[in-house]
């Protein structure tokens, strides 16, 4: 019993302090009418009624979040991350490491710098990087991505950063596959794509599932780059759920309503994680430990 406290104690304290406690506070505030003045006059369920009753921006935010998370995940964080890992491990090692380092650069630069870079890339005048090609080199009309395809912009901006995490994890997973398995597959008559399908993918199933679940959750709650690049606009076209919560609570001072919205986000996150857990058979992927612990 003493050991139990000793080993799990620190983790439990941290968990309580940074996860359980904030959730409890959030639940508490969600059932009040706390506003800009931070005063609580009554305990009420009207925040939830408002959510169900017809917050038109809420349903829009939910839809946008779905597109944003799914798009970023499917195109970049998993697929493109995997493509990067596959290609940079297939080419000579030095070149591969160089390309991976390049893809890591945005992750290492401050978010504001990264956001400014995108602002310059999609600048709707002929000075923007993209338009130097579209307009300058090929003579097409100036393209304004921020206004015409804002969702594409935030998916691109997040994806270019997000892909590097998958890339790193997948690369190390591919590296840990015994070399002889590749030799055997080649001698057995398998070509490049067959090797990817029959040797590499089965070997990296667990990192693939991990990245999918982990990135889904982090995309659900993060809005840093969206806030910096489009600030949810134009109009509300890129206001994803997490950004909406932030705006309600901190820009409009509707703390109680924001807390209620955040609570729902926690529930959505848990539901998504559990669903994927079931779907991807994570229990089987997390192998049983080989030693017994009393």
């Amino acid at each position: 019993m003493a050991n139990f406290a000793l080993f799990l104690g620190p983790a439990l304290v941290l968990l309580a302090l940074f996860f359980v406690f904030p959730v409890i506070v959030d639940i508490a505030i969600a059932f009040t009418d706390m506003g800009q003045t931070l005063q609580v006059k009554e305990f009420t369920t009207k925040n939830f009624e408002r959510m169900l009753g017809g917050d038109r921006r809420l349903s829009m935010a939910l839809g946008l979040t779905f597109i944003y998370v799914l798009g970023t995940l499917a195109i970049f964080n998993v697929t493109f991350g995997l493509v990067l890992a596959l290609t940079t491990t297939a080419i000579p090692d030095r070149v591969g490491s160089f390309f991976r380092a390049v893809w890591l650069l945005p992750r290492m630069s401050p978010s504001v710098v990264y956001a400014l870079l995108w602002a310059w890339v999609v600048d709707p005048t002929e000075r923007g990087l993209l338009n130097q090609f579209i307009n300058g080199a090929f003579g097409f009309e100036v393209y304004d991505m921020m206004n015409d395809h804002p969702m594409m912009l935030i998916i691109l901006a997040n994806g270019f950063i997000g892909a590097s995490m998958g890339m790193i994890i997948f690369t190390s997973a591919i590296r840990s596959i015994p070399e002889h398995l590749f030799f055997a597959a080649r001698a057995d008559g398998a070509g490049g794509l067959h090797i990817v399908w029959h040797v590499i993918l089965p070997a990296i199933r667990w990192p693939l599932s991990f990245i999918t679940v982990y990135q889904t959750l982090s995309l659900l709650v993060s809005f840093e780059y969206i806030w910096l690049i489009t600030n949810g606009g134009p109009f509300f076209d890129t206001t994803v759920y997490a950004l909406y919560v932030y705006q309600r609570a901190f820009e409009h001072g509707q703390y109680a309503y924001g807390a209620a919205l955040a609570l729902v986000l926690v529930v959505i996150g848990i539901a998504a994680a559990l669903l994927m857990w079931r779907f991807m058979d994570m229990k089987r992927l997390l192998q049983q430990p080989r030693i017994e612990v009393q």
Binding site: H180, L181, F183, A184, R186, A187, D188, G189, A203
Partner: protein, 361 residues
């Protein structure tokens, strides 16, 4: 089935030369062993034949066709790796089936072929298991089945028996040899175990530091080794080697002298195999210094004026005791004499006991 020719084949990684220019011909249906110490380039040679490594220079021919540029997947070569390299997420059945996926097999034939091959190597009871649920010997047989199922024109075995226990190794040796006879597939076995090589192969290729030292039947390598290296590598316990100065028809070794049949001058090395030395009433005097029972034979360490010699005698119980004074005899035609500098064997030179040594009672 294929006849394999290597013409000046070489492989280097930067400055490291793993295989020096090598010429080699292996006949259709032959079973050869590549024998050599660790790091001598055995696996590298095998991987070049499989198309996994591209040779740095030279030409490689299967049945007269140059295959240097042919990719591994198009060579129809079966290979068993030292680590077996079974696909861990596939069952035994899926593992054996895998090579057939990339071949034109009449519809419905593939599952039958898998079962036939599984029967051949006796793993048909394990078809639904995964490699991690098999013992080393069973995994090895699955790897063999995977290599054989597509009827390869060349079968490559990279130290396939090194992970097995002694009994299993013995039975697998016989099984693999029988299997090869039945299928008639040209086979190359890589090993550093000389008994494995001599018992299984028609011919042995003895390699050392990236170079082929000698190619020949096991008997040739044992009786007529080209070099001191081959003589030392073949035979267990290893050959006794004594170095000394030769003056025409005698060589001084330690505190004594041996007569030479044939002529040699300068530094030479005389090789005496432990199994060719016999205890006798007359001959080289010595004193027993150590006794190592080896099962059906006893290995004696004997101190003689020529130097220390290992002597092998049949029997499971030592008939001699330590410190006992003995006499040793050997037949001159069993001795091997090597040039001291080049370490090449001097083919017409043999050593014999000098007359005065013989006469001493």
């Amino acid at each position: 089935m294929a006849r394999i020719e290597l013409d000046n084949i070489t492989k280097a990684w930067g400055d490291v030369v793993a295989v020096e220019p090598t010429d080699l011909t292996i006949d259709d249906g032959e079973f050869v062993a590549i024998l050599g110490p660790s790091g001598c380039g055995k696996s590298t040679t095998l991987f070049m034949l499989a198309g996994i490594y591209a040779p740095t220079g030279g030409e490689m021919k299967f049945d007269g066709h140059v295959v240097n540029e042919v990719e591994a997947k198009d060579r129809n070569v079966g290979i068993v790796f030292q680590s077996y390299a079974l696909y861990p997420h596939m069952t035994v059945r899926e593992n054996i089936l895998f090579p057939l996926k990339f071949k034109d097999i009449p519809a419905g034939r593939a599952p039958e072929m898998v079962e036939e091959t599984a029967r051949l190597v006796q793993v048909e009871e394990f078809l639904e298991r995964r490699p991690s649920q098999l013992s080393g010997g069973q995994q090895q047989r699955v790897a063999l089945a995977r290599a054989l199922v597509k009827s390869p024109q060349l079968l490559l075995l990279d130290e396939p028996l090194s992970n097995l226990d002694a009994t299993l190794r013995l039975s697998m040796r016989t099984e693999i040899r029988a299997l090869q006879r039945r299928t008639g597939v040209t086979t190359i076995l890589v090993t550093h175990d000389q008994i494995e090589a001599t018992t299984m192969a028609d011919r042995i290729i003895c390699m050392s530091r990236g170079r082929v030292e000698q190619i020949g039947a096991p008997e040739d390598l044992y009786r007529r080794p080209n070099s001191l290296f081959v003589a030392s590598f073949i035979g267990a316990p290893p050959i006794n080697t004594l170095s000394g100065n030769a003056t025409g028809n005698a060589v001084s070794l330690g505190d004594s002298v041996l007569a030479l049949l044939g002529e040699a001058r300068g530094v030479v090395t005389v090789g005496l195999r432990p199994e060719h030395l016999q205890f006798a009433d007359q001959g080289l005097p010595g004193r027993i210094d150590g006794i190592e029972p080896m099962g059906r034979e006893i290995l004696y360490l004997v101190k003689t004026p020529l130097g220390d010699l290992r002597v092998l005698e049949a029997g499971s119980v030592p008939r001699r005791s330590a410190e006992q004074e003995v006499r040793l005899h050997f037949a001159p035609e069993d001795t091997l004499v090597f040039d001291g500098a080049s370490e090449d064997r001097l083919p017409d030179v043999h050593a014999a006991l000098a007359e005065e040594t013989k006469k001493r009672a």
